[in-house]
C-alpha cells in the first residue's frame, strides 16, 4: 500500500527550477534512498513534502489524503516525520524534553505517558543515559541521533531523513544503520533517506531515486542504479561533475 505519493512536483525559485516534474511514491515499510549531487534538489523535495515550502505545481498524497495545501503540523500528525540536513534541536530544552515534544504530536497523552514514551524511544536508540542532559552537552553525532529520536517518538509511518550520516564517524554510521534497520523492522516504518555515503545507501535501500538538476534521472534497485549509464555519468562515475562526496 502506498503511504506517500508525490506527483509531478515542480518547484521554481525565481529563475531556478529546483525541481522539475518529479514523481516519488513510497509504499508501507519501504526503504527508499534519494541520491544526487549537491544542489540536485533533494532537500527541496523534502521541504515540499513536509509543507515548509509550497510546490509550484504537483500534488502530494499522504495516507490517501491530499495534503498538497496542508500545514506542516497537520502532515506530521497524519504520520510524517523528518530530520534536517543541518540538525535542528530545541537548544534550551533537555534531551528528554526534546523527545517529549516529538512524542506529543498525538493529542490525549498524559505527561506521564509522554515521558515514558520518550524514555522508551531514547532507550531504543541507546541514548537513555543522555536523557537529562542539556543539548549543549551532546557530541555532534549524538545531536543527530537525538533529532532522529525526536522524529521517531512521533511514531511516524514514513520518516524522511536528510543526510543523517553527514559528520558522523564510521562507528557512528554503523550504529545508525543498525538502528535504522531494527526500527524499520519493528515498526513497519517507511524511510526516505538522503545520503551521500554510497556504502550506506547500497546496503540499506530497496529502491534508489536519483535526482540531477531537479529532475529524476533514474529509479531502481541498488544493482540496477549502480549500472545505470546516466547515473554513472552524473554522479557515480569518475570525472563526473559531482564533487560533493
Amino acid at each position: 500500500m502506498t503511504i506517500l505519493d508525490a506527483r509531478g512536483i515542480s518547484k521554481r525559485y525565481g529563475g531556478l527550477l529546483a525541481l522539475a516534474d518529479v514523481d516519488l511514491s513510497v509504499a508501507e515499510s519501504e526503504f527508499v534512498a534519494l541520491i544526487g549531487p549537491n544542489g540536485a534538489g533533494k532537500s527541496t523535495l523534502l521541504n515540499v513534502l513536509t509543507g515548509l515550502t509550497p510546490p509550484t505545481s504537483g500534488t502530494i498524497t499522504l495516507n490517501a489524503r491530499n495534503v498538497t495545501r496542508s500545514a506542516t503540523h497537520s502532515r506530521i500528525r497524519a504520520g510524517l516525520g523528518r530530520t534536517f540536513q543541518h540538525g535542528r534541536l530545541f537548544e534550551r530544552l533537555s534531551v528528554l524534553e526534546n523527545v517529549m515534544v516529538g512524542a506529543a504530536n498525538r493529542p490525549g497523552r498524559s505527561d506521564t505517558a509522554l515521558r515514558k514514551a520518550a524514555l522508551d524511544t531514547l532507550g531504543l536508540m541507546g541514548l537513555e543515559r543522555f536523557a537529562h542532559q542539556p543539548i549543549s552537552a551532546l557530541t555532534y553525532g549524538n545531536r543527530r541521533m537525538v533529532e532522529l529520536t525526536r522524529a521517531l517518538a512521533g511514531q511516524p509511518r514514513i520518516l524522511l531523513l536528510d543526510e543523517p550520516g553527514a559528520g558522523l564517524n564510521s562507528g557512528e554510521v554503523e550504529d545508525l544503520m543498525t538502528r535504522l534497520r531494527a526500527i524499520r523492522a519493528e515498526h513497519r516504518l517507511a524511510i526516505v533517506l538522503i545520503e551521500h555515503n554510497m556504502g550506506m545507501v547500497m546496503r540499506l535501500a530497496e529502491r534508489i531515486v536519483v535526482l540531477n538538476f531537479g529532475s529524476k534521472i533514474a529509479e531502481g534497485t541498488p544493482t540496477a542504479i549502480q549500472a545505470d549509464p546516466a547515473v554513472l555519468d552524473a554522479y557515480l562515475g569518475a570525472g563526473s561533475s559531482y564533487a560533493g562526496v
Binding site: F90, E91, R92, E97, A104, N105, D111
Partner: protein, 321 residues
Amino acid sequence: MALRLLGLVGLLVVGFALSLSVSEYALRLLNLAAIAGISVIGLNFAFGYVGLISLGHAAFMGLGAYILAILTTQAGWSPWLASVPAILGTGLCAAAIGFPLLRLKGHYLALATLGLNVSFVIVAANWIELTGGTNGIAKIPGLSIAGYALSGEQPFLWFALVILACLGFVASLIQSSRHGRAMMAVRDDETAAAMTGINVTAIKVAAFALSALYAAVAGCLFATHVNFVSPDDFGFAQSITFLSMLIVGGEGTIVGAILGATLLTFLPEWLRVLGDSYLAFFGLMMLGILIFLPTGIIGLFDRWRRRAPAPETAAAEVAQP
C-alpha cells in the same frame, strides 16, 4: 510538584511576614510589586517561553483596568462581577489581535505591539464620554470579601499575594506541561517545532492571549486598589518597564518574573536621591545586566548552585561514618 507548592507557600509566608513588619509606604510598594509581578508572569508566556517581543503589555493591563472601571462606575456593577468581562474580554481581544499581528517577527513585532500600546493610550485619552479622557476614571469601588473591605494596604496585600501565588502556580503547571514545552520549542526553532506536529500559529496566539489574561488580572487589581485609572498608567513606557522586569529577574522563569517586578518597583524609590539621573543609572544597569547576566538574577542563583555541591550529596557525605 513538591517544589512548586513549596514556592507557593514560601511566597505567601515571606509576603505575610513582610506585611506585618514594614511601613505603610513599603506596603503600598509591595502591593504595586505584587500587581506588577502578576503582569510580568503573564509577559513571561509571550516573551520568556515563546520569544515574542511584546512592547504592548501595558495596553492589555489597561484594557482590563478600563473595562472594570467603566462597568463599575458607569453601569454600577460590582468589581467582582466586572472583573469577569474585563479579564475574558481582554484575553479575547488579544487573541483576535494576535492572529494577524503574530505573523510579524522580531523587531517588526516589537514595533507593531508598541504601536498597539500607543493606539490604546490615544483611544483612552480621547474617547472622553467613555474613559474620561486624560482625567481618567476616579472613584472605582474597592474589593470586599464577605463584607470585609480590602481597603487598607495590608489586607489588600494579603489578597494580592494569594492571587499572585495562585497565578504563579498555574503558570508553573503550564510551563511544565506539553503546552509549555511546545511554547519553548517554538521559541527555539519554529520550523523544527512545526516538524514535531506543533501548530506554531496556535501556540503563539495562545501564549499572547494568556499573557493578556494575566495582564488584565493585574489591571483589575490595580484599578480596585488605586481606585483610579488614567491613560498615563498604561503607556508604552510601562510596557518597557514590564519587559525590563522580566529581563532583570530572568526571562523564562516565574520566580525571575516576581523578583524582577519587586526589584524594579523598589529600585526607583531606593534611588530617589539620584533625582533625574535615575534614568541614566537605570539604562546603565540594564546594559550591565544584559552583558554580564544575560539570564537575569535567576541566572546568578543557577551559577552559584552549579558551583556549590548539591545539598543532598553534601549531607550524604557528612552522614557517612
